[in-house]
């Protein structure tokens, strides 16, 4: 072995070792700072982790664009909704008077809220865009109660890392990290363009987070759970979306 190739071998070996160690440290740091999404495994885990980590570093406090009233899409676009269950239809027939939002998990005061109660809390309205991963979009004025307000009412424990939210449709649930959950534009929407939120747009209650795509904005919300780990929820991938092949993080 010539000196040149030996030197080359040593340098390459050192570089490879440093690279592997660097990756190890990066993975530890990413885990520590909450930059690893629940669906980080599998062949697409690299892209998903880079998407989530980079946007989390870049957008932790940034606000989604808001628009003037003149830009509200007319008419608002009601997207396809899954077939509604009999339970939903019964609640709808009574004007959703018995609709409840239950909140449990790592909270001091688990609770159950009626729509009237939610409407009595400080409301927030915003004119934001809802963009679907398919490619279409619309702008509407959404009215609701900030999720952070509900979380303050129930008192989340410090170890909380995710808010899991469930639709009345048992196969439809999702989760967000605390940065999104406490973001000022994340709320439970009950109004659209000055009216009650229509069923076609997710009424009576829809999760609204304008920094993520449409499918993250789950319709017909009945239940929130605060947790420190996504293990134990479905397959542990963070939401029903990855189980159906879609990314958990939908900021892009």
């Amino acid at each position: 072995m010539s000196d040149l190739s030996r030197r080359k071998l040593i340098v390459t070996g050192l570089a490879a070792t440093a690279g592997a160690a660097g990756l190890g440290v990066a993975a530890r740091l990413a885990q520590k700072y909450g930059l690893v999404p629940p669906d980080h495994g599998g062949i697409y885990g690299l892209g998903e982790t880079l998407n989530y980590a980079s946007e989390r570093l870049l957008t932790r406090h940034s606000l989604a664009r808001e628009f003037p009233e003149s830009q509200i899409s007319k008419p608002p676009f009601p997207n396809e909704i899954p077939p509604l269950s009999d339970a939903f239809k019964r609640l709808e027939a009574e004007g959703f008077a018995d609709w409840r939002l239950t909140v449990d998990g790592m909270v001091e005061r688990p609770g159950s809220f009626s729509l009237t109660q939610l409407r009595s809390y400080p409301s927030r309205s915003q004119i934001t865009q809802l963009a679907c991963e398919e490619g279409w979009s619309y702008i509407a004025e959404w009215v609701g109660v900030p999720l952070s307000y509900i979380l303050d009412v129930v008192g989340i424990r410090p170890q909380a890392r995710y808010i899991v939210y469930f639709s009345i449709d048992p196969d439809w649930w999702d989760s967000i990290d605390m940065a999104d959950a406490t973001h000022p534009q994340t709320f439970l929407a009950y109004g659209l363009n000055g009216n009650e939120l229509p069923v076609g747009n997710g009424g009576p209650l829809r999760m609204r987070l304008p920094r993520q795509l449409g499918y993250k904005n789950v319709k017909f919300i009945t239940h929130l759970t605060v947790t420190d780990s996504m293990k134990g929820f479905g397959k542990g991938l963070g939401s029903a979306s990855p189980e159906g092949g879609y990314a958990w993080y939908a900021g892009i």
Binding site: T59, F77, Q129, C132, G135, W136, Q212, G245
Partner: protein, 261 residues
Amino acid sequence: MATSGSVQEPPGASFPSSASAAPASTVTSRHSALVRVTHWITTLCFLALLVSGAEIVLSHPRFYWGETGNVLTTPLFKLPFPSSRNLVPTGYGYVLPDQNGWSRYLHFQAAWIAVLTGLLYVIFGLFTGHFRKNLLPGKADLSWRGFSIAIASHLRVKRPGEEEAWSYNVLQRITYLLVIFVLFPLVIWTGLAMSPAFVSAIPATVTVLGGQQSARTIHFFVSVALLLFLIVHVAMVCLTGFKSRTRAMITGRTGTSMERT
């Protein structure tokens, strides 16, 4: 060689006799190792982006201009394809299976690898003078005479001389520079402009384009331009000698007499 001012003389070309005496390890490559590796990684990523992008478009084969667009608004144009979603009026009586889940996962993964590879290539190209030496057209070529010579030889589908096995002509140089410094940055930019999270941090990314739907439409056209480049690129490789050109991009060897000595 005299007609083209930018053609770079391959090392050893002036002294063909001395090349035979040189040990094999000093034979200069047509393309440096980094160019070859990044070329093929980008190729794989681009194909993945193309397939997954086409798949994503099928879920809504309508394009709009401005901020918003959906099936209730008038499209700028529609693609004559069936859709993978039944809410989209396409005129077809059937709906394709939904493939957006893996397509979106693959699209972003391939985009990340392509962007990181591209960054490595651009940094390398700037430091080693690759762009200046191999891609920037020479002054003599940037004249009408230079262009007409290059265009005429293309139109005659003339097989390029041996010197072109070692260098790029002016049309190639300009095309490659456009792809590297205009089309790729534009397709990355318009892709990011569709991300509601990214534009929350840097709103100008989308506002200067005229809105999210405009970004999507431009993204589509730039992708089409890149696809056209790919088709012409592969066609030219085939016309000028598929084996030797591909070998040069894989092993670095051209198989021309300059090297075979």
